[in-house]
Symmetry: C2
Subunit: 397 residues, 2 copies
């Protein structure tokens, strides 16, 4: 024993490199001005929240001097919100789900943690396609489980079902997929998800216990080419959908999301009761009251998708001009191009010298790539062009 | 494996009795009207938030249409808030603490979880005086540790230092005290806390590792008799203070609190870095943005303590008239009287028949007592008098 547990002390040691990059970014902005630094490192939605968020806050303020205005509510969330959220999920997922299968959570991150706490036992394994959102590993680790990434195709980031089948041991308790995907921008097709579902159903029979399929969908609305976003509910019994309003309402800091349990799941009520309880005992207690009230009235609004679509086009132009190879993101707000240098950290360092901030793919389980978040002003994207060109010339390709 | 992990399935089974009581309460209110049910079961602050909360929300609404208005901020909270929170803690705790030793959290419950995740290892033990807030056990259990309650005096709920010394094994990683106390209303004296600190310092030397003293203080402002609320910071190096705005700003549902690390702690910066990280990886990510902005301007306001003081007097009168014995609460908003029946659940059932809702002491590790929350209207307290009288006559004392 020391000041921290060995596990957390170890985590801190490892994460110091990325922190240093962020600090360098802050220094660069101080030195050159924010407009002259091309910061593609962070997925912090920069569009202002839609008008409906402002109106909702005005109403919340108007009644904030009443009893219990911001007091405890049931741990699962305001009953009226659960019902309305269920109606929205029913429309999106094309299933009929009731409010009793929905739990409001402290963002998608809080939802995943509550779900993991409810179902994972020490030693369990969670699988996910790689590249992947690196926080998943911490979320599983919080409860003594471990994340095993399964490599996707390195050209179009499609699911490698053969690799999933090979990874399917009796310790596997859940598979989590993120679609549209951070960091790749990939939207998984119906055929891919159906293949994964079949494989999981087979593993359930073989091992004799439930294996969950979790669809983490905070970027659902960021679907640039109107592709089908198939629901896991219709494909697999033991499935759960987790979503959030961080991106579509630009509410990332206020922490609001949900866990929805497949209405077709036998014993699903028990799972809901478990998630309500873990939501409580993990100390969230309930999703923030103001956030719930905002979502209750602003749920159907969203930031302008067109802005993100134009930014995607602007970033494509910059990368094309520099000769950088990439998979065209279908959703979310990230490009995940190949690093032209074998060492992606070295490429990121070269970009940094030209005031471009990117994240090495190694941080997403995919060395040899870099992540560029395009939730930044279109002008910044356009102005970054010469920097990318210069770096590509320097490294001589 | 089943739908839930065995551990969570077990928890759910045990908690069903209390849930049933709450459901009965709801039914009673439907049947007899809310004014004719004397619900002392829940610690949900019923006073409206102070005017400053409303003004803060108006300002937040006014600027909600700007970029990043409610977006991510540093995981530890807005830097300006950390500084201001530190100044408030400095005044309350009579120490000089900087913003770099303060982390804003998702309520006190979120703060305790983030702290536990940062320092606990599987198999560790956390001690607390009993009767105690039953959620502590879940919070320790989340990370594979266990809570060992140490019985306090059954007359004035003072700390039993001999019992603490006896409980002090090498597995003990932390002691958590809640003062003013839920459920007893006790405020621990300087002598008690100094005695506990000495004992912990001895155990640290004996076992050669850090043992934390955590002071959980969400009821700090509810101090009816102006007693000293001594700070653990001056008494013990490895100490942490955790607080919240749930009670003093009636913000329980919006989830805002903090963790403050003793400025005198060697290696305290490492602990702060750990808590910032666990705050992130547990999925809180950061304390809710709106809550942080409310607290930034409304921090120095609070609900009217006098209202709670009058309710304490009203409840005292009711209990005295009925001949129920109790320790007079010095703070918080609970009475924790002795049950006149050996079986406190039986007494609670008798009260329920007269439309009085109380919680059996067994739920707080103290069979033979009941908890009565007086965060309800004074009229309701007064009107409950005849019901208490009737029950006491029935059980014939």
């Amino acid at each position: 024993m020391g000041i921290l547990s060995d596990e957390i002390a170890g985590y801190l040691g490892k994460s110091s490199m990325i922190r240093k990059m962020f600090e360098t970014g802050i220094e660069l902005k101080k030195k050159f001005g924010a407009d002259n630094v091309y910061d593609f490192s962070l997925g912090n939605p920069d569009l202002p929240p839609p008008e409906a968020v402002k109106s909702a806050l005005e109403s919340i303020a108007a009644s904030a001097d009443t009893c219990f205005a911001l007091g405890y509510m049931p741990n699962a969330g305001y009953p009226a919100l659960r019902e309305k959220q269920a109606a929205k999920i029913s429309a999106e997922q094309k299933v009929d789900i009731g409010g009793d299968r929905v739990v409001m959570t402290c963002g998608a991150a809080g939802g995943i943690n509550a779900f993991f706490r409810a179902v994972l036992t020490r030693g369990d394994v969670v699988l996910c396609p790689s590249p992947y959102f690196v926080e998943y590993g911490f979320y599983a680790g919080n409860y003594g489980a471990s994340l095993k990434p399964v490599a996707s195709s390195r050209t179009d980031f499609s699911l490698d079902l053969t690799a999933f089948e090979a990874a399917m041991t009796k310790e596997v308790r859940a598979v989590i997929v993120n679609s549209p995907n951070n960091p790749t921008g990939r939207i998984y097709t119906r055929a891919e998800l159906a293949g994964l579902a079949d494989l999981l159903a087979g593993a359930e029979r073989r091992f004799g216990h439930e294996i969950y399929l979790v669809s983490d969908e905070p970027y659902r609305f960021l679907n640039f080419d109107n592709l089908e976003l198939p629901s896991v509910f219709g494909l697999y019994e033991h499935s759960v959908v987790i979503g959030s309003y961080s991106k579509n309402l630009s509410l990332a800091g206020e922490r609001i999301g949900y866990v929805a349990v497949n209405p077709a799941m036998a014993g699903g009520d028990k799972l809901v009761a478990g998630v309500i309880m873990t939501n409580r005992i993990l100390g969230y207690v309930n999703a923030p009251a103001v956030a719930q009230k905002i979502v209750l009235t602003a749920m159907d609004s969203q930031v302008d998708l067109e802005v993100y679509r134009r930014r995607r086009a602007a970033m494509k132009k910059v990368l094309d001009a520099a000769g950088i190879k990439y998979f065209m993101p279908q959703g979310a707000f990230y490009f995940f191009p190949r690093s032209p240098l074998a060492d992606d950290a070295e490429f990121v360092a070269a970009l940094l010298k030209e005031r471009v901030l990117a994240v090495p793919g190694g941080g997403f389980g995919a060395s040899g790539f870099v992540r560029l978040a395009f939730c930044v002003d279109e002008k910044i994207i356009e102005n970054s062009g010469p920097s990318f060109m210069k770096v590509m010339e320097q490294i001589g390709r």
